[in-house]
């Protein structure tokens, strides 16, 4: 896997995929440095998000297949298994207080390539 290190950042930016690999207003999963990361192309808001692919509720690797949307202004993803929803910004679970949050990652898009900072 190709990776680009950018100075003065604690992150390592990894090439994740091509823009076309992620469906518009939807998500998919990429394998980055041995880690499963869900990437979302929120076309409607003109934003990209990345989170863990694993839903902490039942530890299923499926968030990339989840539906995205918003609750008030908060962008969110719903797990396809039991519809726990998580903020795409903060990773907090929005509809189950007992559910742990998910990790979120910064995303950059340049020249048709999607990069994720880990």
């Amino acid at each position: 896997m190709e990776s680009i290190a950018i100075d003065n950042q604690p992150l390592t930016w990894h090439v994740a995929c091509r823009v076309d690999d992620i469906p518009q207003n939807g998500g998919a999963c990429a394998l980055i440095d041995g880690r499963q990361i869900a990437i979302f192309n929120f076309t409607r808001r003109g934003q990209w998000f990345a989170t863990d692919n694993e839903c902490p509720h039942r530890r299923q690797m499926a968030l990339g297949r989840g539906m995205i949307g918003s609750h008030a202004e908060e962008p969110k993803v719903a797990c396809p298994f039991h519809k726990r929803t998580f903020s795409l910004k903060t990773g907090q679970c929005l509809n189950d207080e007992g559910c742990s949050p998910i990790q979120t990652y910064p995303v950059r898009v340049s020249a048709g390539i999607v990069y994720v900072g880990v």
Binding site: P23, N25, A30, Q36, I39, R59, F81
Partner: protein, 847 residues
Amino acid sequence: MSVHTNTRIVVIGNGMVGYKFCEKFVAKEKKGQSFSLTVFGEEARAAYDRVHLSSYLSCKTADDLTLAPADWYAQQGIQLYLGDPVVEIDRTSREVRSHQGRIVAYDYLVLATGSGAFVPPVAGVEKDGVFVYRTLEDLDLIQSYAHTVRQEGSGTFRGAVLGGGLLGLEAAKALLDLGVDEAHVVEFAPRLMPRQIDDAGSQVLQRQLESLGLSVHLNKNTQSITGDAVITGLQFADGSHLNVNLLVISAGIRPRDELARAAGLDTHPRGGILVNEQLQTSDPAIFAVGECAVVHQMVYGLVAPGYEMAEVVATQLLGATSQFKPFDMSTKLKLIGTDVGSFGDPFASEPECRTIVYENKAKGIYKRINISADGKQLLGGILVGDASQYNMLLQTCKNQTVLPPDPEDIILGSRGGEETGLGGVLSLPDEALICSCEAITKGQLCHEIANNGHTSVDALKKATKACTGCGGCTAMVKDLVGAVLNQQGVYVRNTLCEHFEYTRQELLDLVKMNHQKTYAAVLDAFGRGDGCEVCKPAVASILASLWNENILRQDRATIQDSNDRFLANIQRGGTYSVVPRIPGGEITPEKLIVIGQVAQKYGLYTKITGGQRIDLFGAHVGDLPSIWEELIRAGFESGHAYGKSLRTVKSCVGTTWCRFGVQDSVSFAIELENRYKGIRAPHKLKSAVSGCTRECAEAQSKDFGIIATEKGWNVYVCGNGGIKPQHAQLLASDVDKTTCIRLLDRFLMFYIKTADPLTRTATWLNKLEGGLNYLKAVVVDDVLGIANQLENEMQLLVDTYACEWKEVVETPELRQRFTHFVNAPAVKDPTVQFAPMRDQIRAREWA
């Protein structure tokens, strides 16, 4: 300085009523009132639920049955002494002395000593293997004895209960749960439950119980218990004999009045502490509550009146006035799976009243209602086998509601969900007691629902304690929630979510008129925000029902719910299951072989489904297109097991093979399945066709079901299995195939266009104003004049059908989405793990 000391209250007995007294007392106690409460219990356990004692053997633990843990008493400042019965009351010095020598002074004493089992004077009751049925300890003894008998393994294990009343039948349930080989009930009277039901009701109950493996012996006067030291059988006065290894005596209760008697309080000659309507004994400082008390010349042997007595005494001790009035002894319970209800005066008979009886021997149902001679009031009645109307009947009886002109409708008319003639739960007066255990009225519940936002049974349980006693009122409380909300207009407009201020029906009409075919177009035109997991699948369903275009094209893939998104059912571990369509359940050996080969090749677990087809589990998302490519090549199509759409039309073999069949059910099932396959609806649709009235295809449990008759086909609609089974109802009889299809076209399209999201046909019909009659008027009689339109809309869906999996397999840009890692399409999810199970695989457990 105050010289006033605490008012000291001592409660003797920590059973259900003794506990309830404590609970009521601390709940009513106001700040500034100073009391000390001391409780003595004979058993080592804190008060537990004796009503559901038999569940201890089948599913519950002692802790589950506990009413409040020991630390609850401590938190409330109650001094609780368990395993330490009071042995003496000194009324002169106002002190009690316990077995362990504790001496506690009282200002007021509450006797809640309950009752013990009544053991009739039969020779041999002291033998090993003879038990009573009253406490958890009794159950432990019975259980360990049964264990010993079984270990010795000496032939058939026969258990018997002496007493065929309410408690006796509960004990019989316990015997069945213990797994005895034979369970017998022996009753002296000529019928079961002699205090609650009549001879005819007893006969129906007896047949039901016998069909569940219980032997019932009536009119049996037990003379002696045979055996040396250990029971071997029962000898009856009529000369007959019954071999048993274990006997549970449950012949009635005897009030525990020995302490009161020794203290010189007035008692009844046949047992029980005499009290007035304030529940005071002959010593005004001493009260008695529950089954140890005799009030109105009787012992109230049920928990609800006991709780009411606890309330009456707690109220008085806190300074208010209260009286215990004659209490309704109506009961409803499930005995070994059979509902039995008895309310008001169950035995009232002509000429003072008119009696209406309904009996269905085949179904094991008996209903009797007694109506005043003028036909206006319900005096009482009996329900066996089906007590679903118990609550309404009880309320009608208690509140002296005026009956409808044809009172028989109240027990006959409600079959199949039609109007009962009684009006809904809202027609009851506010003071109607809905939960008699906790004395909660309809008015209180309505107030909590309407003003305090307690709009679920759970919330109401917390707020009012309704449904926490016997639980018999739960269904009625649920109805009340629905009715109050409905009255407030809460359900009148069920809008989709925060993004759409429209109901599904409104949105469907709008999308149709405006020819929108993508989610973005619909959201831009009629919604706001970015959508969510509620409105996206709802709009997806609307678009599919209107235009029937491939659900993964344009922007529609990402608005599909979990299963539709990948045209397969997502399962544990993130793998998918695959179900090819097998119309009517008919399949050639060649196709069966292909399914086997595909399953072998892709390592799939196979199982026959309830809908007469084959499910292949454990497929990686990346394998789905190849799996389908092979299935499609062999002539299979998508089975839509993942969609809110037609699943299967199940069939029996009908005239093609069956000697009873009157029509060719398989051919018709295949025709219907092929007609309606792929059509998306608000929820899944299941169907079946039976070739004769024996109904082997179970059509009456389906969304639409067809049963062959000599003359044609009967059409049933809106049945359901699932959480709340509901029989389908007859829409039309003896129609030919063409008419049947026309009616189904109209019915299905009407449902598709008007139902709320994720609402099955049964629920849709239940909510439909006018119910089945209205549905018939629309679908059969075409009162709305839309029948033609509905048929045309359905025909459009039928004509535009295409196997969506075939399209995906043949379309590279759709096919490429079926990967786990977009940047490594050939890599499978490494976290997917299987465990072996019976020569196949299964998904690993939830983490």
